[in-house]
């Protein structure tokens, strides 16, 4: 070290601005840098020596794994071992993606060890993604970790221990491709602070019993087995509910329907509701068809999967729309349709099916449009009853039909500002 450099260091380097930034700012910068480059900052200068080592996030995700393509599995495990050992202090966020690295069941012990280390170091946000072919059973250390606030798991086997005290601090739980294996008759998960629950492509959800009275967001889709909704009965604060189900259920549909109805009734704060055609079918097959569902006064975004060949679907959809006075966005996915149902066409043609104007409705999107008469009448109805409408977006799988376009253009519009978009289906919706 020559004299000049020494002097600079003593006085506080007048040119080196970045090392003087507060730690939280430098940590924020490190958040945007991949692990490999972030680790290299440790040799930049004396001040930077331990900055990465004390950075509380370790994101060993897809990008990190790319460094090991074509290398041995032992290289990957060696690297993760090194990183964990060199780390100092708490690890608040840990993301690990092991897709394609571990194929043998015997090597799951390695992942178990890493999770053990991380749970001992105060991890709050834990994300673990394994391959689709893996059957990785979650270790006990996850279930015993009381510091977790965010847990995201992909393709794991979720088998809680028998006296499972639950996740005391968990706020968000995101499970994809998870298989639930109950220890007793049910998989009971106590999560008193849980606000967000996502269950996607899961198996064994019929055993699930989640105790989470403060739940706000519930998303359930693409699963193989039905989700028993009874455990959500006392969740009064649900604001987002998205239920989609493609499978087959046994009988007892009456129970399921009443449960779902009760759920909708007991969620006065519901803001976003998405039900695919399975659930619409379930709800529309009620015994008393003219009973109005209760008012959903907070609901502003409604997404429904509708079968336009079924009268009960259409009437239920209209009823839901009528009982949502603050509805702003309406999204209809056409599940099926038919051109022949005279009753439906007649029904939609009468103005009394939707009398009051939809004052707040601003956006309407209809996808998988198939240009049937019923759908066209539906669009016509909406256009004539929405004085505040800004956008009506219609997507269809086939190519655009000029005649249909002309017909759509001719429909009278209650809103002078309404724009009509008619296009071929793309992946991202226009809304």
């Amino acid at each position: 070290m020559n004299q000049d450099e020494t002097r600079c260091v003593i006085e506080g380097d007048s040119e080196d601005r970045i090392s003087g930034l507060p730690k939280n700012v430098i940590d924020h910068i490190l958040e945007f840098i991949p692990v490999k480059d972030a680790a290299r900052t440790s040799i930049l200068s004396r001040k930077w020596r331990y900055i990465w080592a004390t950075f509380p996030e370790l994101v060993l995700d897809n990008g990190f794994r790319q460094n090991f393509i074509g290398k041995l599995k032992s290289d990957f495990t060696e690297a993760v071992n090194c990183i964990l050992l060199l780390h100092m202090g708490d690890i608040v966020k840990f993301v690990l993606d092991t897709k394609g690295v571990f194929t043998a069941k015997s090597s799951y012990a390695i992942i178990d060890r890493w999770i053990l280390y991380v749970t001992r170091n105060g991890v709050k946000m834990l994300t673990l993604r394994t391959s689709n072919d893996d059957t990785y059973t979650l270790p006990l250390s996850i279930f015993n970790c009381s510091t977790l606030t965010y847990l995201e798991l992909s393709n794991c086997v979720f088998k809680p221990p028998n006296p499972f005290i639950g996740f005391q601090n968990l706020i968000a739980l995101h499970l994809k491709g998870t298989t639930f294996v109950p220890a007793t008759s049910f998989c009971v998960i106590k999560a008193p602070l849980l606000a967000k629950l996502d269950l996607i492509l899961c198996r064994g959800t019929q055993y699930l019993n989640i105790v989470s009275p403060g739940l706000k967001f519930l998303v359930f889709r693409d699963s193989h087995s039905y989700l028993v909704l009874d455990c959500f009965m006392n969740c009064k604060n649900i604001t987002l509910l998205k239920l989609e189900f493609n499978g087959v259920v046994d009988d007892r549909t009456n129970d399921k329907r009443s449960t779902l109805e009760k759920l909708l009734v007991s969620s006065p704060a519901l803001e976003v509701l998405r039900l695919d055609s399975f659930f619409v079918e379930l709800l529309s097959a009620r015994i008393v068809p003219n009973l109005q569902p209760s008012t959903l006064s907070c609901l502003w975004h409604l997404h429904l999967g509708v079968d336009f060949s079924k009268m009960c679907h259409i009437s239920y959809v209209l009823q839901l729309i009528k009982s949502s006075p603050n509805l702003r966005k309406l999204h209809i996915s056409v599940h099926a349709t038919s051109d022949d149902a005279e009753a439906i066409l007649k029904y939609l043609d009468t103005p009394s099916c939707l009398e009051q104007p939809l004052d707040k409705l601003e956006h309407v999107a209809i996808n998988c449009f198939s240009s049937s008469k019923a759908e066209l009448l539906f669009v016509k109805l909406l256009l004539s009853r929405s004085p505040s409408l800004l956008k009506m977006c219609i997507d269809q799988l086939a190519d655009i039909d000029i005649d249909i376009a002309l017909e759509l253009m001719r429909f009278p519009r209650a809103s002078p500002r309404a724009e009509l978009f008619y296009s071929r289906y793309k992946d991202n919706s226009v809304i």
Binding site: M1, I10, I18, V25, E31
Partner: protein
């Protein structure tokens, strides 16, 4: 008393750390959460006498930049694309300004601007070699070569290994003093630099290093560092200590730790051989293993295996062991190992 301008706008008065006072349109200033809070909670900022004092990190030039940012973004009608274009042009600043801007935005809690500048700084760091980064940010290259080669101190080190390392370092030094009397040339910085980066990378990527040589290299590096520190402290005491203390200013635990590690050591070394070596000693890489006493080598191997076993064992057992070790060797290991074990200890208490 708001100053009523002909355009009927209201203004907020802001005072920067150097005392100068500026007058800013209300909606522009209120875009900053910190100013917003000050106005709403304390009612300050309404006149020149009651100007809101901004945090120290905000100087007038940077305040100008921040207000420019706020002025653009507080207008609600702009599209995302417009905002993005403005942002990209806005952050084309030199690194000094960018760092000042990040710091100022952080103190004003202007989160979107902090994100924007942090990303820009991250882009400057990502994918560059350390030399390039040092040049961009004017960082001093003040790590010794072995500090670069040993990426980070291994906090779970067994204190007994360290003690053994010190013992044979002393022995080796005696041997060296007896044998060699030549001065060493200062190693080429450039050459060592490259090697250190690759080493670090390969270390992180888990290269198949021979475990023994890795251990030996590690311990050799530690000795060199201690020697350097001893040299530094004897010749340039203040700098040495200041270096260590300025290492981790925000983490008091680490601060105490680094301070402790280096101060007792010179005294330790002085106890045995008197520190009468020339400041520049030659350390040939290959010689270390040969000069090791084979018995000591074995012991070290055993210790390291012990450490590996301990790493895999149950936590309570480990805690016991560490605590019992800590009581044996009070001054040094508790601070060294203490960072690992003491921190964990408080961690357990917290939970």
């Amino acid at each position: 008393m708001a100053v009523v301008k002909p355009e009927m706008k209201s203004y907020i008065w802001l005072q920067t750390a150097d005392g100068s006072i500026q007058q800013v349109e209300e909606e522009v200033a209120m875009f900053c959460p910190m100013i917003c809070r000050e106005v709403l909670q304390t009612g300050m900022g309404s006149s020149k006498n009651y100007a809101i004092s901004l945090p120290q990190r905000v100087n007038p030039a940077i305040l100008g930049l921040i207000l420019e940012y706020c002025q653009f973004h507080q207008v609600p009608g702009r599209s995302n694309k417009e905002r993005k274009i403005f942002d990209e042009k806005f952050i084309r600043l030199d690194t000094k300004k960018l760092c000042e801007l990040t710091s100022a935005a952080d103190s004003l809690q202007l989160r979107p601007l902090v994100d924007l500048t942090s990303r820009a700084l991250a882009r400057m760091i990502e994918g560059k070699t350390p030399e390039e980064i040092r040049e961009t940010f004017h960082l001093p290259d003040d790590l010794t070569e072995e500090e670069k080669l040993e990426p980070l101190r291994n906090m779970t080190d067994d204190p007994r290994i360290r003690l053994l390392n010190r013992l044979y370092a002393r022995k080796r030094k005696e041997l060296k003093e007896r044998e060699k009397l030549k001065n060493v040339e200062v190693e080429e910085e450039q050459h060592v630099d490259e090697r250190s980066v690759d080493d670090l990378l390969s270390f992180i990527n888990g290269a198949n290093e021979d475990s023994k040589s890795a251990r030996a290299t590690k311990s050799k590096k530690k000795n060199r560092r201690r020697k350097e520190q001893a040299r530094n402290s004897s010749t340039n005491n203040e700098t040495g200590n200041h270096n260590q203390e300025s290492n981790c200013p925000t983490s008091s635990c680490l601060n105490g730790d680094t301070g402790d590690v280096f101060s007792p050591l010179p005294s330790d070394l002085q106890v045995s051989a008197s520190v009468k070596f020339s400041p520049k000693l030659d350390f040939d890489d290959g010689d270390i293993d040969d000069e090791l006493d084979p018995a000591m080598k074995e012991e070290i191997d055993r210790e390291v295996e012990d450490f590996a076993r301990r790493l895999n064992s149950d936590w309570p057992e480990r805690m016991q062991e560490i605590l019992s070790l800590g009581q044996e060797r009070r001054p040094v290991p508790l601070s060294v190992n203490g960072n690992g074990s003491l921190r964990r200890y408080t961690g357990l208490d917290r939970r």
